[in-house]
Amino acid sequence: MMTKTSYVLCALIIAAGILCCGCTTTTPAPTAETRTITDMAGNQITLPASGATFGIFGGPISQVPYLLGANESVTAVTKGPQMMEMMQQMDPGIASKPAPRTTNGNVNIEQLLVTNPDCVIAFDVDGEIVESQTDIPVIYLSGTMSDGFKEMRQEIVFMGEVFQRPERAQAYIDYLDETLAFLENRTADIPDDERITVFLGEGVSHLQTLGGDTFFTEWTEAAGCRNAVAAIETTQGQQEGMHTGINEVSMEQVLAVDPGFIIIDTSSPAELANDNRWKELTAVKEGRVYKQPTGLFLWSRPSAESAVLYPVWLAYKAYPDRFADVPLTDRVKDFYTEVFEFPITDAQAQKVIDGAYGSVTFGQVQQSG
């Protein structure tokens, strides 16, 4: 005994079935119109030969499609980079793109399904969530906070392949290699015992740092400096919602290593000069406390941007006499123009260098840090 409502329900179910069939027919069959990618975990993923759309899940990796000139094909983004002030200057459109992925391991599946990209590019935690809860194929990246320049090059080459822009990937790698060679050339003759030790002190306490087993050690060494806490490993252990690699050291530990250069991301260098725990340190006495620069993304992460610019900035600040010929702002402008095809003004370059770029929270720009 079917009532009127039941008929309507049946009709709806059938209609839904037809719609779903419509969806599945768009799934690419393995023909000449598709291409196959082997991701960094060794899985085979089939994508449309051209015009594929992507979701990209991960903070530092989110700038890579821009670097490859392929950001139009990205339809679902990650919230962190989306909120960055400079990112929104480079691509005002990013603010209106759906951002189903917030922090590591937090993916809004329904929002992802609404956007429905052809595939999602992600690291293990987010990738597994997408794979287990949707039919969207996942291209796995492999990456940790320990990754250095070598892994950075591999990642960019791989992304160049995924986005079919190998020449742009190579252009970035050439730029990186030229920069590293230039820095090496300018700092090679500094004796080991004169190399400046750098302490990265993040957070309100300025005691959260990146240790010897993180990319930061390689970044500092590229600048002719040394990581002051190179002897400490910080990638063990994991805190919820947070990257591994960041760990807290005690104030006494900082006094014991007595860094010659301190980078902070919160408050101002003046705070350290006025704090009786910090003011005895060589870096503070010599006025070598700097706010960490910020650009398209935080520099204290292994991104394409920080791989090039962090060593440059550090080398310029640590050994200004060795780099008196070309202003730092010119180098910064050149990088964004050449690599991202994003020409910036002197004022913008200075804002990057001063760490004055922030992120946009509640529609307001917040100072990074």
């Binding site: 909120m83 309100v204 005691l207 919602g241 006094l255 919160t266 009786n276």
Partner: protein, 371 residues
């Protein structure tokens, strides 16, 4: 939970405040079923004071910055005696500006959390509460999280943390008022409601926070650590905690009266409502100030009073001072491990839980000494 035990224990608690041990001159041995510690609380107090002194001294000698013990002593003495400076200014700074403030902070925070917990356990007549039951830590954590998200200054973070800690407890207290009285059950339930509200708000802040940059700062803050303590912090927050501890010590015999229940306490002429407000206010100020200084450190307010009861029994006149000494010594000891055992700091919340949970488990399995 076990009113019979309370009644039996309370029977020998002299409400007037005269020391119980003073009257027990006959030394009947096990006749009254009390342990040695219960019969000699004064001696236990003196012994614990010695333990605290030893722990604090050991903590002073240890650290990641290696300073010979004689230098540490010389640095400290040099402020009063004319001793020639043979040490670097950094070593002096490590002792005077880092190690000593941290030890004093450990003492105050540990003592404060322990006595707040003991007072609350007495007031709520429940051994499972700590001073965080009314939502002070959840509120303070939320204050700190929005401080970190929206402002760029440690001082603002601390002020917001303190204010929201008080606000949360104020809300819980207001919610529990029923016709100008605050039934214990209503207080507990209101506390749970307000605490979960503020925990959810903290999660909300973490969700909208710039997940890359602010998130680690918020997570580290909520984990709790004495690593951030500076002398100015201590100069402001130290007296607040110390005065509140003295306040709780001053009303400690009245808490014994509260443990009999509101009606009996009122019959004895104690203004229970006013007393509750005083206890809640003092314990909340202590906890909020502690969170400002060191983030959220769990377990101390719960476990230390139980350890104290094992030593001197449930009489709050002795339990509260014992909790102060035990809490101080415990946190200084744990913090010394946290800052010296590994090159990176070990989050203190992890250590207090690892040490606190087994102790609590043992206590649960032992013959209940009453509370």
């Amino acid at each position: 939970m076990r009113p019979k035990t309370i009644g039996a224990k309370s029977a020998y608690v002299d409400v007037g405040g005269a020391p119980v041990t003073g009257t027990a001159t006959t030394e009947p041995g096990q006749a009254d079923g009390r342990s040695w510690g219960e019969r000699h609380p004064g001696t236990v107090l003196v012994l614990l004071l010695a333990v605290l002194g030893i722990v604090a001294f050991a903590a002073l000698m240890l650290g990641r910055y290696i300073i010979p013990p004689e230098t540490v002593v010389a640095v400290i003495l040099s402020s009063v005696l004319p001793i020639e400076e043979t040490w670097s200014s950094t070593a002096a700074s490590a002792v005077v500006n880092v190690r000593i403030p941290r030890i004093i902070a450990g003492l105050l925070v540990g003592a404060g959390l322990a006595i707040s917990g003991a007072s609350f356990q007495g007031m709520f007549r429940n051994p499972l509460v700590s001073s965080q039951i009314l939502g002070v830590a959840a509120g303070a954590g939320f204050g700190a999280a929005i401080g970190i998200l929206l402002f760029d200054s440690l001082v603002v973070v601390q002020i917001l943390s303190f204010v929201f800690g008080l606000l949360a407890v104020g809300m819980a207290y207001g919610l529990s008022r029923v016709r100008s009285s605050t039934p214990i059950l209503m207080l507990v339930l209101s506390g749970i409601v307000i605490a979960s509200l503020f925990s959810a708000l903290t999660s909300m802040v973490k969700y909208v926070a710039d997940p890359m940059n602010k998130m680690p700062a918020i997570v580290f803050w909520l984990l709790g650590s004495l690593n951030h303590v500076s002398t100015p912090d201590l100069l402001v927050l130290g007296p607040i905690i110390a005065i509140s501890i003295l306040g709780l010590l001053a009303v400690r015999w009245r808490i014994n009266v509260l443990t009999m229940g509101d009606e009996e306490a009122r019959a004895l002429g104690v203004n229970t409502e006013r007393l509750k407000v005083i206890i809640i206010l003092l314990a909340t100020v202590i906890t909020a100030a502690a969170v400002c200084m060191s983030g959220i450190i769990g377990w101390i307010g719960l476990v230390i009073p139980h350890m104290g009861r094992m030593l001197v029994g449930p009489d709050n006149r002795y339990l509260l001072p014992i909790s102060v000494l035990l809490g101080g010594a415990f946190l200084i000891a744990v913090d010394t491990v946290a800052r010296t055992a590994a090159p990176a700091e070990i989050p203190i919340g992890i250590l207090t839980a690892i040490i606190g949970a087994p102790i609590f488990a043992i206590l649960l399995r032992r013959n209940n000494p009453g509370w």
